[in-house]
Amino acid sequence: MQHWKSRLPAYLLDIQREIEDHARGYGLDFWDVSFEILDYKRMQEVAAYGGFPARYPHWRFGMDFDRLSKSHVYGLSQIYEMVINNNPAYAYLLEGNSLVDQKMVIAHVLGHVDFFKNNYFFSRSNRHMIDEMANHATRVRRHIERLGLEKVETFIDSCLCLENLIDPMSPFIVRHGAEPPAPEEAPPPELPRLRAKGYMEHFINPPEFLEKQRHRLDAERDKPRKTPRAPERDVLQFLLDHAPLELWERDLLSTVREEAYYFAPQRQTKVLNEGWAAYWHSKLLTEKVLKPSEVVDYADHNAGVLATAPGQFNPYKVGLTLLRHIEERWNKGRFGKEWNECDDYDARRTWDKHLGLGRQKIFEVRRLCDDVTLLDEYFTAEFCAENQFFSFSRDERSGNTQIDSREFRKIKDKLLFQLTNFGEPFIYVEDANHGNRGELLLTHRHEGVDLHQDHARATLEALARIWHRPVNLRTLIHDKPRVLRYDGSAHSDEPG
């Protein structure tokens, strides 16, 4: 069922169909993909819009466009592929690219679309985001017409300061209905008594004891109920539910939140997604699609995509090599108890049980993993050494950035730390009535690294604009608990 018409010229459409047939043969499973050919200007525009043909008016898209077009003009980078997680998927080809490049991009995109469709982390994302984005654009434009660009844009900027305060896992948490509201006049719970036979009652539950129990219950009942009941990570949703916003403000905030959630899975699976697509474009092209005359050009461009300058982390490269490593391990049976307990270097090196489970395994990985689980599970000491990973940091004394370790454990910890929550701090809403003054209290779950303080203060300002009351952030600064506070006009900083 194709309800859209492909805009590709016939010869490219034939190539697309051919590559799709091969891909299905390998077991890839994707939606229809609509390719569109764009000239470089439009390509940069679409890239600045995050892959979408239209977004709401905002300067930051202009900023990205500025960067993209400058780096294009000076030949520093070009955009190879772009694909939108949408059903049907939309992808773009750059006008004037060589045929080999187009083939490579088509195959690469099919890998991505297969990933979008089948990876668990994408399963809750909006598959009609193109329409949704266009709706957002229309709505924001309407607000701008009514209220003026300055006002709307300023509010969007405030929302963007908080854009990362979402809980990427929340779409997967199924709550069985709302919590039942506590009845206004709940019957007072019965006093707990110790069990006693009738004639012992007076001795076992003396009046003083009952009195004490009653006091405890009363105290419990009168204790102010906290909102939220448990610390809440989806700060944006909390603000939508509880901040005193006007309708248009609420609309903008929910727009920003919705788009943040849409893009979250792509940020969660950068390494795996790119690795998966690179794996398949190279497999499809080298085994099926390429003509002998095209091999050298392909190899050249492929090497460009996978190039890792010393000191860089290229998600395409890491993802691809890791997938190939997993495939090899499962092909040769290098897993399980026996393998893990084997200390014999030679035996490990020549270990091959001819299981041939590799392909099946990487399909499983693509269905279940995000970057964190991928690396946690499959980033092994061997893989680390083989691929010359190291960790680096800035030396305080010399100011140089230098290699600080080649130890597997350290490297892996650092890698996982950087990927967990996109390498961003965990921030929770703790209390919406802090100090019983209607102030908002956020907590930073400190995991060893302090927040950037200036930016944290500026972010509090944005938060205060939305909350309309003073806001507080509990965090650690140099290992000492502090509460940063912004009351709408001035910052303060108290030990907390």
Binding site: P57, R67, G75, P310, Q388, D450
Partner: protein, 369 residues
């Protein structure tokens, strides 16, 4: 091709330039890309606005990467921590912002920075001529404008669609509906009605440094006036003891020697106005630059006479800029000021060095004449 993103792009550049949303300026970081142009390495300014968020401070975080090398190998050299070894800095870091600008934008900024008023043109309507340009095709029009080729193409198309076309007997007969005509649009062309006359003293006492000052100042004046008038004529006069009209290039390059008779230039200027630019239709701006050293007081008297009689009545504004020269006495500006005290149409200013240029421009153009 117009892009949907253009307004966003413009807005971003406006923010970077500080024209709008000043509160965002503090988050601008001036990144740069190192690129290549030919075989030269160029730095491409890449301003970036980082919306503040809760994120980690960066000290010593580093990351994970791939490649050869020993522990301790330097990947990127850096500056030692200021707070560590050296003294703590007390001044805020200075952010140099390079922004690429077009000349129009530059002029606009110039206008804003110097608070130059927009110029009120002389109290008569601008001269507007209209020009017809053929821009397309339409179905109706005068027969004289019938587009032969398009008409027959349309006829051919119609015949093919209706199955009346026989390739063996290729007969194409246009009917009335096939006729196509050229269509035009009338474009208003505003005629230039402003004239700048730059007069420069090139006598021996004007050195390279003085000419540099003149060159810079006239460039900015030129740029500003061009934004005020759609078309702008400029004429250039150089003089020592005699005056002659030169082209722009020569104006900035000639170095002559000899005496100075300012009256010669004034005569030429007056003649130019009288012959080519009737004062009733032109907004005229003479700018004279000199080191203020005239040959004789007789000549100075003659100058005043010509100014009063021929030039001032015709112009919007007469500007005299005096650069400082080691040789000259700089008397002329005093003479002018004495004679024309209270005269609104004559503005004088002294340009001692490059820093004084902005003030001088403000004096000249600040009246909005």
């Amino acid at each position: 091709m117009a892009l949907r993103i253009d307004p966003d792009h413009r807005r971003f550049r406006d923010i970077v330039r500080g024209k709008i949303r000043q509160n965002l300026r503090q988050y601008i970081s001036s990144g740069e890309l190192i690129g290549k142009k030919g075989d030269k390495t160029v730095s491409i300014p890449m301003p970036q606005i980082d919306v503040p968020r809760f994120h980690f401070g960066n000290q010593g975080q580093g990351g994970v990467a791939q490649g050869p090398g020993q522990v301790g190998d330097v990947l990127a050299p850096g500056e030692p921590d200021e707070n560590g070894a050296g003294k703590a800095g007390s001044q805020p870091g200075e952010h140099a912002l390079e922004v690429e600008l077009s000349l129009e934008e530059l002029a606009e900024i110039l206008g804003q920075e110097l608070e130059l008023p927009r110029i009120e043109p002389k109290g008569k309507q601008r001269l507007i001529t209209q020009k017809d340009r053929y821009v397309g095709i339409r179905r109706a029009g005068p027969e004289s404008l019938r587009h032969f080729k398009r008409t027959f193409r349309q006829a051919l198309r119609r015949q093919i669609m209706m199955g009346q076309y026989d390739p063996k007997r290729p007969l194409v007969v246009p009917v009335r509906e096939d006729r196509r005509y050229r269509s035009w649009r009338t474009v208003p062309m505003r005629q230039s009605n402003a004239l700048m006359i730059f007069i420069m003293d090139v006598s021996g006492s004007m050195g390279d440094e003085q000419k540099e000052l003149v060159r810079i100042e006239s460039f900015w004046i030129d740029t500003w006036l061009r934004t005020q008038y759609d078309g702008l004529e400029s004429r250039y006069i150089v003089h020592d003891a005699t005056a002659r009209e030169v082209d722009r290039d020569t104006f900035f390059r000639t170095r002559e020697s000899g005496g100075t008779m300012i009256s010669s230039a004034y005569r030429l200027c007056a003649k130019m106005i009288a012959e080519d630019f009737p004062a009733s239709e032109w907004n005229i701006y003479p700018f004279q630059f000199s080191d203020g050293d005239n040959w004789s007081s007789d000549d100075t008297l003659a100058c005043m006479e010509i100014l009063k009689r021929d030039i001032l009545p015709a112009v919007n504004l007469f500007c005299y800029g005096q650069v400082e020269s080691p040789y000259g006495t700089g008397q002329f500006i005093k003479d002018l000021d004495d004679v024309f005290r209270g005269e609104e149409l004559l503005v004088t200013s002294e340009i001692k060095n490059k820093d004084a240029i902005a003030d001088s421009i403000r004096t000249f153009l600040g009246k909005g004449k």
